[in-house]
Amino acid sequence: MKALLIDDERLARSELRRLLAAHPQIEIAGEAADADAARERIAQLKPDLLFLDVQMPGEDGFALLESLEAPLPQVIFATAFDEFAVKAFEFNALDYLLKPVDPARLAAALAKLESVSAPDAPAGDAAAHTERLQAQDKVFVRQGERCWFVEVRTIRLLESEGNYTRVHFDGAQPLLFRSLNAMEARLDGRMFFRANRRQVVNLEWVETIEPWFSGGLLVHIKGGPRVELSRRQAQAFREQMSL
């Protein structure tokens, strides 16, 4: 597993390097001292895992994640005591380490990561879909003090709001700084369906379907809102669902 260490302090990086020496499955591909350098290294090295400091000069760790194109590499945050950051993490499954890092805690985080990333996409399919997000890929969303690492399969509905997209998933619907069209282009068409100009639904979350006015359809999404399909979209929908 290729890892990139991102921290503005040289000693912090060297400490992490030393700690990771006990885990030969992690290959340290490189280091970066700020967000700009990190973006460059990520594009060039394509790491599977980021060790990311929250507080850095210039853009912080969250801003870096927001700026990255999905699919994101796995991320483990490393932060010193910081109420704000720790609070942000408590809302979701992001893993984080507190500095100074406890070696046992690091081992646990790596073990958890391996159990998650084990099933890989089938080899033949991979080439055709590298540009598309897979069900288990993650999208990073931040709104105010909260942030989420959202697995694509848990997204129920995407709604266009100007240049932003509102992402509906377990009990939250934050705004993502991407247009709906840009998001749709990255999603797997077999899983996500363009219902109308404003909405893209995840077919796996569809609960019931009713006939609606003038040949359209009304789709109920589990624990979410109802979505209207025009006749033309309903036609396409029926075709896709009948497969």
Partner: protein, 385 residues
């Protein structure tokens, strides 16, 4: 109003039997005398609510005394009832209907007890026979109720006033305690983020440069010890504070390496000037946090201290701009300003400004004279009326 007792564990007002007995006897005594005075002055006797023109005799006087003694006993029972039900805790709004009801009931009781007496004393006179007993009873109950209502007004008026006074005292006490606690908390603040980051750097340094690691441990220990002790001291000589600032900056240099540069200029007479502990430290910490840690290229933190005739002038400068201090809640600065106000009152100044583009300056002015005792930690509130 009684709910304002923030500090006292027992919310009930203290019972003062001496005062109560005195007030009861004086009140009823006065009332009886006034009543009798009126009887004699008007040369009339009230018999069952009807005025009869004759001079009051000993029988009449005895009757008035007896009826008022019953009144006193009724109010005494009333007071016991008030105590048991805790009416002194009630708000005036809740109290008013209760008092009105109680006055009416007790007026009835009073009449019922006094009625046989009237007959024992007066016998059946031709005057009383003529009057409708219902009218007489109503008249008597109403009279008693009005009197008892007046009694209640005096009783609760006193208690409400007393509880208000006590709540004022409690509020003062609370304020001064809060102020003291606040001062304690403000004094000892080392940013935990800094501590943990330093410990993290230290872990790396132990392998890389053991001598520097040992030095860093000593400095961290100094800083922590000083910040703990700072809670007990009002002021320290500036040179003591600067020694700790030096330890702090050395630790930050371990983290930021050559991104952090330091310049310290202190005049000899400024070195002995009294400063609140952790004040310079807080300002320098702010400088590093916003001026150095957030800038890729880092920069220089400069500390300057000199004296005028009666004041110490401190300047702490760092590169950056005030508007770029995003995410700053200004808490550290607000705390520092608050501390100065608690210790020096209006005689100290703290100001943070962008003096020239790209240069942020925290300027402090402190009096060189010893701290005013009155402005220091607030006293206990025994002197509050």
């Amino acid at each position: 109003m009684p709910t304002m007792h923030l500090l006292s564990s027992d919310k009930r007002l203290p019972s003062r039997p001496g005062l109560y007995v005195g007030c009861q006897l004086a009140g009823w005594g006065t009332w009886t005398l006034v009543y009798l005075g009126l009887l004699f002055a008007q040369g009339e006797v009230l018999v069952d609510g009807k005025a009869i023109n004759r001079q009051p005799g000993p029988k009449d006087i005895a009757l008035v005394l007896a009826v008022n003694c019953i009144g006193l006993l009724v109010t005494h029972g009333y007071r016991a009832f008030i105590h048991r039900r805790g009416w002194s805790q009630l708000s005036p709004k809740a109290l008013l209907p209760r008092i009105a009801g109680a006055s009416l009931v007790l007026g009835t009781v009073w009449t019922a007890v006094a009625w046989p007496l009237v007959h024992v004393f007066m016998g059946r006179t031709e005057e009383t026979v003529q009057i409708n007993p219902a009218t007489v009873t109503l008249y008597s109950v109403f009279n008693g109720a009005v009197l008892l209502f007046g009694w209640s007004a005096l009783y609760f008026g006193y208690h409400i006033f007393e509880s208000y006074r006590r709540s004022e005292i409690d509020r003062w006490q609370l304020q001064s305690t809060a102020k003291e606690a606040e001062l304690q908390a403000l004094k000892s603040q080392v940013n935990p983020h800094f501590i943990f980051n330093s410990l993290n750097s230290l872990r790396a340094l132990i392998d890389e440069n053991p001598a520097q690691a040992r030095d860093a441990v000593t400095r961290l220990a100094n800083l922590l010890r000083y910040s703990l002790k700072a809670g007990q001291l009002e002021t320290v000589p500036l040179e003591d504070e600067l020694r700790i600032v030096d330890d702090y900056l050395a630790l930050e240099q371990v983290r930021h390496e050559d991104r952090l540069r330091v310049r310290v200029t202190v005049s000899p007479e400024a070195a002995a000037a009294p400063v609140p502990p952790m004040l310079v430290q807080t300002l320098v910490e702010n400088s590093v946090k916003y001026g150095i840690a957030r800038r890729r290229e880092g920069g220089e933190v400069a500390i300057e201290a000199r004296c005028t005739a009666d004041r110490l002038l401190l300047r702490i400068t760092n590169p950056g701009s005030l508007s770029s201090a995003g995410g700053s809640t200004g808490l550290g600065l607000r705390n520092a300003a608050q501390r100065l106000r608690l210790i020096f009152g209006e005689r100290a100044r703290l100001q943070v400004a962008e003096e020239s583009p790209g240069l942020v300056v925290a300027a402090v002015e402190l009096p060189l004279a010893p701290v005013l005792p009155a402005a220091s930690a607030p006293r206990a509130v025994s002197s509050v009326p």
